[in-house]
Amino acid sequence: MTALRISRKASRLRAPSPKLVLAGCGIAALILAAAPLALDVGDLRLIIEILTVFAFAQTWNLLAGYAGLMSFGQHLFIGLGAYCLFVISNRTGANPFYLLPVAFLFSAGAAALISPMVFRLRHAYFAIGVWVLAEVARLYVSQEDWLGSTSGMALVATRDMDHTWVALANYWVAVALGVVCTAGFYLLLTSRLGLALVAVRDNESAAAASGIDVWWTRFYGFAIASGVCGLAGAAYYMSVFHLEPGAAFDANWVVVMLFIVIIGGVGTIEGPILGTAIYFLLRGWLAGTGNLYLMLLGAAAVATMLISPKGIWGAVRRRYGIEIFSARRLAD
């Protein structure tokens, strides 16, 4: 009886109209953009980190939750995006902020190039295949002097710029990234490509039988998610001014993405927002507990998976029938 009631509720999800959602995103972005008026540099730095980590998680969610591609190697693109920006800026003296689109294109292009290879692998093999490529990239970068080898490199161009301005610009880049990963992804999911992505995720064979080119749909999903991930990586490392292969190509990035998406709810835009908040709260509370911290994070993720496989937002949505970013196409 209870199950019946819940399922009837779930079939009538209340969701605001797309215009309202986008307007809400706009207001939230404006408030965030104006926040430097009231906050100091330390706060801004924390918000930059929160927003970029949120962007990492949201791109992983786009892959796993919507494109049906589980990748354990997305740190590859964090590293590629960041290295692309650092190397070009240091070599040419170009303003790194203008290089952000280049970092996006470079990461998306790298994803496009490896697609023919990694798409031959499925499921766990795909997940590990990309991970292996990330390791290869880390080892390669660590051995090349022109890439700074293991000790990495510092961003030269921003040294001579006005520090307050650089801090603000980094902050606004992070806010823009946050907007792209909520409103932008929301628009993407309501588009034709969004419909093709979820159809392929749900049933590959039926998607092909309905006229969807499965390979190219996955390709676009992978390239977009990886490109934005690389963009976020570039933005993150630009804000800390220093980059080294061990940190940029660190598999722990994927662990964080996984944790956030699993806790918050995979396959929803709201999930990673909630998950990011929980991750940073836990990190704050458990600071200084050493390895116990990682074990507690792991335990929290396992508990969530057992209790609510669709994460906290999945449970909220089912219980109360609310949805904010609904890509659902209604019949009337």
């Binding site: 006229g211 969807i212 659902r328 019949a331």
Partner: protein, 245 residues
């Protein structure tokens, strides 16, 4: 009139097992070709070859005169092939409406507003309108079968491949299904694999009987059912009496 579907010498072997051995037949617009045969005769395998799930070792597939033998599955779908699977293949985490919308958007290639309109129409036609916002994964079997047919119809096909869509339905439901199929029939070419033979004989203009991957008889329904080779295959099964289910 030129046939919508023409297959010639279609063959497929897996090692020593031949699932299709020089299968050939054709279907014109407004015509329904029934395919019968015992389990394992290769009926579904021929569908897999026609719709591009499996590529043949030999033979040709012409859709509306165009050779699609080497075309991938999604292109065949866009060129006008649609298939309702024996085991329904919904998109479980999409609503019934969205399931049909996928077919109108990509299969039929309609613009956003037309795709929605045709999807709505299809749901009404297949009796799923009241369940339009229900996730396909939580629909009961009968509704999933309806949705399967609806998805195939929604792509506005020239060629409709129906794989045992009457199986498991009650007598009343079969009557409804037959009425629905008859109403669609004039606009498409149809190939229908079915064990529920009274449903098939109510619609089919011709029959093809298969066994061991080969066509063993083809022609008028009564003629095929009464042919000695078919009688032999179905020995012990009375084919021409109305089925009891």
């Amino acid at each position: 009139m030129a046939p919508v579907l023409l297959i010639e010498g279609l063959s497929k072997r897996y090692g020593s097992i031949t699932v299709a051995d020089a299968v050939g037949f054709q279907v014109a617009r407004g015509e329904c070709l029934g395919v019968i045969g015992p389990n394992g005769a290769g009926k579904t395998s021929v569908f897999n070859l026609i719709d591009g799930t499996v590529s043949p070792d030999g033979g040709r597939i012409l859709l509306d005169g165009m050779d699609v033998t080497r075309r991938p599955k999604h292109l065949r779908a866009r060129l006008g092939m649609a298939r309702a699977y024996q085991v329904p293949q919904p998109f479980p985490d999409l609503s019934a409406f969205e399931n049909v919308l996928v077919a109108t958007t990509f299969g039929a290639g309609l613009s956003a507003s037309d795709a929605k309109a045709v999807a709505r129409e299809t749901l009404r036609l297949t009796g799923l309108w009241d369940k339009r916002e229900v996730m396909a994964g939580s629909l009961p079997l009968l509704d999933r079968k309806r949705l399967e047919l609806g998805r195939a119809l929604a792509s506005q096909p020239k060629l409709l491949l129906l794989d045992e869509i009457a199986g498991g339905l009650t007598q009343m439901e079969v009557v409804e299904l037959v009425a629905l199929i008859r109403s669609i029939k004039p606009t498409v070419a149809m190939v229908w694999i079915e064990h529920v033979t009274h449903a098939l004989s109510a619609v089919a203009d011709r029959l093809v009987a298969m066994n061991f991957g080969r066509v063993i008889a083809e022609g008028e329904p009564q003629e095929v059912m009464n042919s000695p080779s078919v009688q032999e295959v179905y020995l012990g099964t009375v084919l021409d009496a109305p089925a009891a289910d």
